[in-house]
Symmetry: C2
Subunit: 734 residues, 2 copies
């Protein structure tokens, strides 16, 4: 029985019948003989690595295999091994204590640690001591998922607790870490820090909205400084949390990528370790494909967005015929239909590209994927506003007449061509368009996005259940049975129903939640100068977001595997990039739109190119300087994590020095040299001098060092020299 | 007797009578009684820490105290302690072996290590086990210098060896490291890498000079890429060398700054270690003084340079009276007189400012000083060219008429005011001025600088000897004696003469040599597009420079204390900064001066502001992108240093795992769980089941896990479920 850490967790473990993981094995599309053979193989593989199993029936051609660690000692040994490995790779500062039970009393096994290690036991390749089970691949094709069971009692109190407080404290975050692992805890920490930091721009933005209005240079500067401050603060905070949670540098050693293909296996001549080699140059060459990918993505999505943008402008501002109100929705419809399809296709392609880059660890693979996903999201999220601010408003008078090419979208409805032609003179841009768009993206889209996050999974579940029952019916028609085979034991019945429901849930993806927040930060950094209330909207949104995400984890998805992480990964680079870009866009927006006339109004001739560029140039370089300053200043300030690390290092040192008492010989020798120079050196040197006389005066060096025996000789000789050469004391020294 | 590492060093040690350090104690300005008291205190302090001493007379009211470590074991213990400390602070990957003599056989003590440790013994504060002797301060006011003796035999072969080869190899650099310490070895490595890297821009620059001429955008791009490549390569190389030499991170632990003043002394509650605290906020506040300092420096030196520049333009291009040829030297004279004085004053002020910032270690203090010195040198070195390129040539027609204010410099010589007035129309700028200036700074100034480096110390020595003899004569007049008091022992006479000469030599400052190279790199990065032959000049210059510096160390200066270092320090930031700035200046120079008309010729109206800014903007961002790419690519490539570190870590791991064989109990428990699941879990579970029967069926969890006993039960149960639910094999699987 795994040693439970707290009373609460004990109750719930009992509630869950001490089950660590459930393997959902499905055979609706597999023949009977094959299904049985694969099942036997699975059970044997699990027992091989010291796991106990129980099997229960599930609906629709599936069985549920319940897994727990067979013996408590086995779990303890796994924990110990993992902690020693952490220490060897420098993740932990101190080696775990050699007395195992003592050690576990000091650092109890958390839920997250136990679940992670059991999951590793199930999925690690055989040569590393695992069962090598990868769901949905190869022999394990029938395994739909491997999931841990929710701790419902904890989830209930957790959600209740979260909704009753405004800010999470360190204890709450540690609790999340102990339950759901560092990766999810990092997301919540980030969200929490971001939420707290948002209070400043929310208050300042509200004041600026009242006092300064839009496009205020003061707001832009303060906002940029806040962005720098927050980004740099989080970088520091991230490292600090990683140290406190004992996961610093863990991303380097975590999980080998199961799809990694090595070119050659070499044995290190020094260490004898087997190393899987994949040429870094080859990978670099493949990584270069990201550049054409980013360009292609930009062109494809950019064209789509620009086209819809053009059609919209054409219909709302040029077209003057019937159905105008309805036709205005046309671009939205096109976008809604095409964008998700294109995005999905491109994401899929990005994933293939990332696989081609062939990373050693899943963390490296994920980081590479995040970079590509960011490019995609960057284009879809910010491009419409970029088009309005830097194409439509400055160049509308030149470009709009060319929008006549979109006549074909309205031809069927127009009564005459005049309705579809730009007026020769007097076309006026819509000056509110930019602000409206920013408000749409920072308020409406956030609300819609949140609603989708919570409602979509519900429908998804419904659809999947339908699909599954169809599949099962097919199997039934081929001779199987769709109804449960045996009736559940009454004692287990509730439990099994719950497990069957959980088996149908989706998988929680922390990366997409992080992406959402980073993209949101981008609106603040890039465009909030247009509408200073942006941060207020985000502040409210994020309070709900955090609770919604907790609810999603607790109810909408399976309990996530508690992976470790030492940071929020490459999203931090995205934050830095957005802050940087913000220094450029904000300067440009302020330069273009501030002042009495409210912007170029579609006429590019009113813009002074060198002025715009100079504003951006200065803004960017001030940004870079301030960032350097903030970075330097923050690096000087101590933090609890760094203090912890230092003191741990010192303890190691102390232990070592105590263990090294054996050097007393060398130390004593040193001490003898350290003593009152006179007596000791005199006697030894006299011996040496006597020896040198015996062997014919020794070397010149021996004779040189033999002339003054010990410090007394040196002193008396020196005094002679000095008294002869030094000036008499004609004056007393002061 | 210290254990000599090689045969050569043994010979020379004998030659130097095994002397480690010589302390030059002077008392020309001290009274006899005080001089004797201080002398006695000095000798006692030295013996206290296990050093042997001999005293000999020197000229002009001075004695020379010869110091060596009293016992070989004492030295060994010091070496061992220092290496253990390195390991504890993470500088070494492996702990030194516990068997001392074995360990020293594997890693012999180098000359540099011995000299460093002895120097530390002499200078470390008493509470850290040293004699606490700081030359020229407090009680040690009479100590002029503490210096090691040159190994003349080695120096001779070294210089000979250097002059006979074009490139230094790794062995040469390791030799320098073993003799003069890592700090100087880093300088030579840098110089060597820079020299080798220069071959590319030298060849390319020569071709560009022939084929493309000045201001070629192609040259500018290639040059910028080379600068990025070299800077990033060196960063990697630097880390690699630090790992190979076992000094990575050494700058953090090296030497406490003797002038550090702590605010409070706190005892760490966890570690019990005494920590000297100085508030980082206070330091930060003081560091902010650097900004007004940089501004003031800019204004003071800038005004001086701009004034001389204005006078020069006025005399050479406006003034038309007698003595023009002689008056043209006036600004040079002003600069030559005022600049060194101002620079010295400002450097002194910078040094005071750095002391005020109150750093814990000498390395941190030095780094802070380097930053300030770079600002000074940046202004004095590049400002004249900046003025020509970006003020004189674009704006001359507007500015030159205002130069009439400099009439007073030539008034005594002019025959009438017409000679001193700008012609109303038709003033033509000197289009060759920029190129001439660049050639001056990159050829003439380099040659002059080198000559000064070699000749100046000679004169300095002459002057100092004069001063000293005057002082001694003063002392003599007060009753002392200037002539040597006793005649040297004939066996030592040559040796003592040599030591007396060495005691008069200057101290080698590696930082100023590095500065010279970094400033040189700046000309290449910032302005070489004006004159593509720049790199050729530097290539030739640096071949000589490296040998000249070696000669300087060997002959012109005292043997330097072999300090350690893990990099070239903040100079690397200076290189990055210059490369960055180069991307801006090169773009601006190319935009302004390329093309048929050869630049704006003094008329700013011919310049398109937005074009210039756009060129700079693009250039800078391409630079940043390329730098990111190069950095990423380089970080992917393995290097010998990193390999060494990895394999050392692995060995530690292996040792630990072997030492941890004591965990067999836990391992065995795990292994039992790992065995053939069936039998073992069956027996244990049967026991458990029996127990649960005895205690009334146990918990629900126990009953749940008891239903299927071992894998065979699970398998047979699962087969039942599957055979009932699964589809019949209507088709054979493929």
């Amino acid at each position: 029985m795994p040693s439970p850490t707290t009373q609460t967790s004990k109750d719930v473990l009992n509630n869950n019948f001490e089950v660590d993981y459930v393997i959902d094995y499905r055979f609706a599309t597999t023949g009977k003989v094959e299904a049985e053979a694969k099942f036997i193989k699975l059970i044997k593989a699990l027992h091989q690595v010291g796991l106990s199993t129980e099997v229960r029936n599930s609906d629709n051609c599936a069985v549920l295999i319940f897994v727990k660690v067979a013996s408590d000692n086995h779990l303890k040994a796994e924990v110990y091994r993992s902690r020693v490995q952490d220490w060897l790779y420098g993740v932990r500062a101190t080696a775990p204590e050699k007395e195992l039970d003592n050690h576990l009393k000091q650092e109890p096994i958390t839920d997250a640690e136990r679940l992670r290690l059991v999951y590793m036991l199930i999925t690690k390749p055989a040569e590393e001591g695992g069962a090598g089970i990868t769901p949905k691949t190869g022999d394990w094709h029938g395994i739909e998922s491997i999931f841990a069971l929710h701790d419902h009692a904890f989830n209930k109190t957790w959600i209740k607790d979260l909704t009753s407080k405004t800010f999470l404290d360190a204890k709450d975050l540690t609790e999340i870490r102990n339950r759901f692992g560092e990766k999810i805890a990092f997301y919540f920490s980030f969200l929490q820090s971001y939420f707290m930091a948002l209070t400043f721009p929310a208050i300042f933005g509200f004041s600026a909205w009242i006092l300064l209005g839009s496009y205020s240079p003061i707001y832009a500067i303060v906002n940029a400084f806040w962005c720098i401050g927050f980004t740099e603060y989080w970088k520091k905070q991230e490292t600090d949390l990683a140290v406190q949670w004992g996961v610093r540098g863990v991303s380097k050693i975590q999980r080998e990528n199961p799809h990694f293909k090595h070119e050659s296996l070499i044995t290190d001549p020094i260490t004898g370790e087997n190393i899987k080699i994949y040429s870094p140059f080859k990978r670099l060459a493949r990584q270069l494909l990201q550049i054409p990918f980013a360009l292609a993505t930009g062109i494809i999505l950019g064209t789509l967005i620009a086209t819809c943008f053009g059609i919209e402008i054409f219909i709302t501002e040029v077209y003057n015929g019937p159905f105008k109100a309805y036709l205005a929705f046309l671009p939205t419809v096109i976008l809604t239909v095409l964008m998700p399809t294109l995005s999905a296709l491109l994401t899929d392609f990005a994933s293939k590209l990332t696989d081609l880059e062939n990373y050693e660890t899943t963390d490296a693979r994920e980081a590479a994927m995040v970079r590509k996903v960011f490019v995609l999201n960057f284009i879809t999220s910010y491009m419409p506003i970029f088009l309005t601010a830097f194409v439509y408003i400055p160049f509308a008078q030149i470009l709009v007449p060319h929008l006549d090419i979109f006549q074909l979208t309205v031809r069927p409805f127009a009564e005459d061509t005049k309705q579809m032609t730009t007026p020769k003179a007097g076309f006026k841009i819509n000056p509110n368009r930019l602000k409206k768009q920013v408000i749409y993206f920072t308020v409406t889209a956030q609300v819609v996005g949140f609603a989708l996050e919570v409602i979509a999974p519900y429908f998804k579940r419904q659809v999947f259940q339908k699909v599954k029952s169809v599949k099962a019916n097919q199997a039934a028609r081929r001779g199987g049975s769709a109804a449960p085979v045996t009736v559940d034991h009454p004692e287990e019945s509730d439990f099994l129903t719950r497990v069957r429901t959980e088996s149908e849930l989706g998988i929680y993806d922390v990366s997409s939640d992080l992406r959402e927040m980073v993209i949101q930060f981008g609106y603040l950094s890039l465009f909030s100068v247009v509408w200073p209330l942006t941060a207020c909207s985000f502040l409210i949104n994020n309070w709900i977001e955090l609770r919604g995400d907790a609810l999603k984890i607790a109810i909408e998805t399976q309990r996530p595997v508690p992976w470790r992480a030492d940071s929020i990964g490459p999203w931090i680079d995205a934050l830095s990039f957005l802050t940087w870009l913000g220094s450029l866009t904000s300067a440009a927006l302020v330069y273009l739109f501030s002042g009495e006339d409210g912007g170029p109004a579609g006429n590019p001739e009113t813009i002074k190119g060198w002025g715009l560029l100079l504003a951006m140039f200065f803004s960017e370089h001030i940004y870079l300087l301030v960032r350097l300053g903030v970075k330097t200043a923050l690096s000087k300030i101590d933090s609890p994590g760094l203090q912890k690390e230092r003191s741990e290092r010192f303890l190691v040192r102390k232990q070592y020095i105590e263990a090294a008492k054996g050097y007393d010989a060398a130390e004593a020798a040193a001490a003898s040299g350290n003593g009152q120079g006179g007596k000791i050196s005199r006697s030894t040197l006299e011996d040496e001098a006597r020896n040198s006389t015996l062997t014919g005066h020794g070397t010149p060096a021996k004779r040189f060092w033999g002339r003054q025996r010990g410090q007394d000789d040196t002193i008396s000789m020196g005094r002679q020299y000095i008294s002869k050469a030094a000036p008499n004391e004609t004056k007393k020294e002061k």
